[in-house]
Symmetry: none
Subunit: 208 residues, 4 copies
DNA sequence: AATGAATGAGATTTCATTCAT
DNA sequence: TATGAATGAAATCTCATTCAT
């Protein structure tokens, strides 16, 4: 049926699923779930539309895979932090600065975070996964460290969980800011400087 | 076609846009921009689909109107705060607690904020409007108050804008939390308590 | 977005669902379920593709409606036959000749029967509906008449249900013949003559 | 690419087409032409999808081969019957009972018959082949036997072809019944009993 | 001003077919 | 011969938008 032309396809090496996930992350982050076109994902991954379906059942399935994929390194980070037994202040300092410099700054992360927020209504499982795997463990870890520090008398009284939200808040704000307001001209936030100044302020404010 | 009878009761036309905006806010907040069905908006507003087009050109136009509509009362609050001339600490305390108790807690607001975040890529104008009208004035006001307090020696040195982000961060986190994680089972945040504890902490940490 | 041209659509009177069903019957009968194109159905019904979805949820739903629609008149016929209390031979004669002349001859019926056969694997509900509504009542009625005639000594012994199949078989064969072999050149069957000769033969063969 | 080792066992290539045809018959009978997946055929035949194309040009080609393949043994049966020179009644009795017990009862046959009916519109060649090779010879043979019996005064007057349809009808009905209504719960027909009772009835009814 | 039936462009998804290996 | 990853045309279904009434 087709007039013969140059070869229609060529098997290429490389990790197809990973290439597709990378392309999908880009497109989803740029356009959101609904506006993302699978055709665009395919084009950027250098495959045909049909090929996507060799690896992912549906668009939603691909979306979920993108989000899950973005979590995995974070899980490791959180575990590593949890296992590093140190005294309160250095632990929080190192943790938050690392978060600011490595995680919040990473466009891949802030992009996915924004997606999770944006699509939480239509894909609550994603919010659930993210919450169980990243958010609650992270907040839980900080709360525990704070509670222990309170027992040791290093931190004044107060709800440890609220202290944790107080520390994390500006990091969340930074991601939202970068994804939402910077593209329309807002002055970028220097996240590391923010983290450091915030730590100086809050840690002093938490002293007994 | 209908034999003349008594005129059917008819809502004042002037109310229509407001009713439509209210219905649209609901539906957009529940479903996001793309999943929101104009048919659903029309049904909840008690009008026909066609009627929407008498007041709004397109779906995007309606969306913009919803977002703008949600801003206006906030603008008034901000202006009021700005005009209330008080010393630094009380001003910040009153402002943040008011924000926590009146604004962050309002589902309408957190819903719209989430929408702005979610659709910022496809509707950057919304992010722009929000930034110019709400965010920048708010952050600007706080920064100025802080800078003035620094001049008076009430606040230690440090970037006033970063202090402002440090104060606001947990409020943003709270809105994201409510919209994204509470629906999937996360323990709710008591925003007012958070604001108060955070103020105690940060204001102490900002002292010279 | 569209350059203005002649009016895109015009509401027309008439019973839309019925028009669509008629068009769909044609197309389904011509092409089978899978090869039938909704675009073709829409074109023949004089509506747009989208309009089909105002009346029928899915293609399968439309298909079911076509089949159900074809049954209803038959149900009436069967009921009428059942209620006509007559002695055995005339009843069967009248019934079968009526069937031959009115039902088997009707392209709409034979077309739908073929569809039910063809799609019974993919749409078993249709076979079920047809079986419960048309086939089993019909066979049941004949069996009962035969059993009663046996009691009265008008019919020799033998399984009444098998007698019924013996009478009906050539009618089924005729429908299959018309739909399957006539289009490829088979000599048409004169169904009424077949029914009459078959009745003469079988009724005589059923005498005690 | 593989290091030389002992040769993997390998089916004789000569068997491949037969294995594929067997698998294809199963799948086509189960799902119909369109819903049949070549991947499924390949899996059941124990070959790759690509291998199918070494033996059959297209899906339709494979389908035709399946149908033709199912005919061949029948042709032999029919020829054998035609050549067995016997008097009318025994010939018909033997023939029909054999048909009932060997052919109609064979799921492979009823499956293909159903396929031919179902796809006759999209693949008329199949109906044509079937008609020319199976149906018309069979009906022709019976008609001739009947006509000869009429000449000998063994059968009363009447259209021999219609007598043939009268005899064959319940066999067709049985195949349709099995394929269409039994899967949705209809009580199975005992085809051999049906054939015998029908023969008793019709043959008596055909006596002068 | 209001209606809502109708439109049709466009998106996801399927799967027979191809061809580099 | 044989494989199976990859292709891409084509089909169903959605829904913002239109406009005769």
């Amino acid at each position: 049926m087709l007039p013969a032309g140059e070869p229609k396809f060529r098997r290429r090496p490389g990790d197809r699923p990973a290439e597709i996930l990378a392309a999908a992350l880009e497109v989803f982050a740029e356009r959101g779930f609904h506006s993302a076109r699978l055709e665009e994902v395919a084009k950027r991954a250098g495959v045909s539309k049909g090929a996507l379906y060799l690896y992912f059942e549906t668009k939603a399935d691909l979306f979920r895979a993108v989000v899950r994929d973005a979590i995995s390194p974070n899980i490791e980070r959180i575990k590593a932090m949890a296992e590093a037994q140190v005294s309160f202040e250095p632990a929080v300092r190192i943790g938050l600065v690392m978060l600011a410099s490595r995680v919040v700054t990473d466009r891949r992360v802030s992009g996915v975070v924004k997606l999770v927020i944006a699509e939480s209504r239509t894909h609550p499982e994603l919010a659930a996964i993210w919450h169980e795997t990243v958010v609650e463990p992270g907040i839980g870890l900080m709360s525990r460290l704070i509670a222990e520090a309170q027992v040791r008398g290093e931190v004044r009284e107060g709800d440890p969980r609220l202290f944790a939200f107080g520390l994390m808040g500006p990091m969340v704000l930074s991601m939202v800011w970068r994804e939402t307001f910077e593209p329309v001209g807002a002055q970028p936030i220097d996240v590391v400087k923010l983290a450091e100044q915030h730590l100086d302020t809050v840690l002093q404010g938490m002293r007994p």
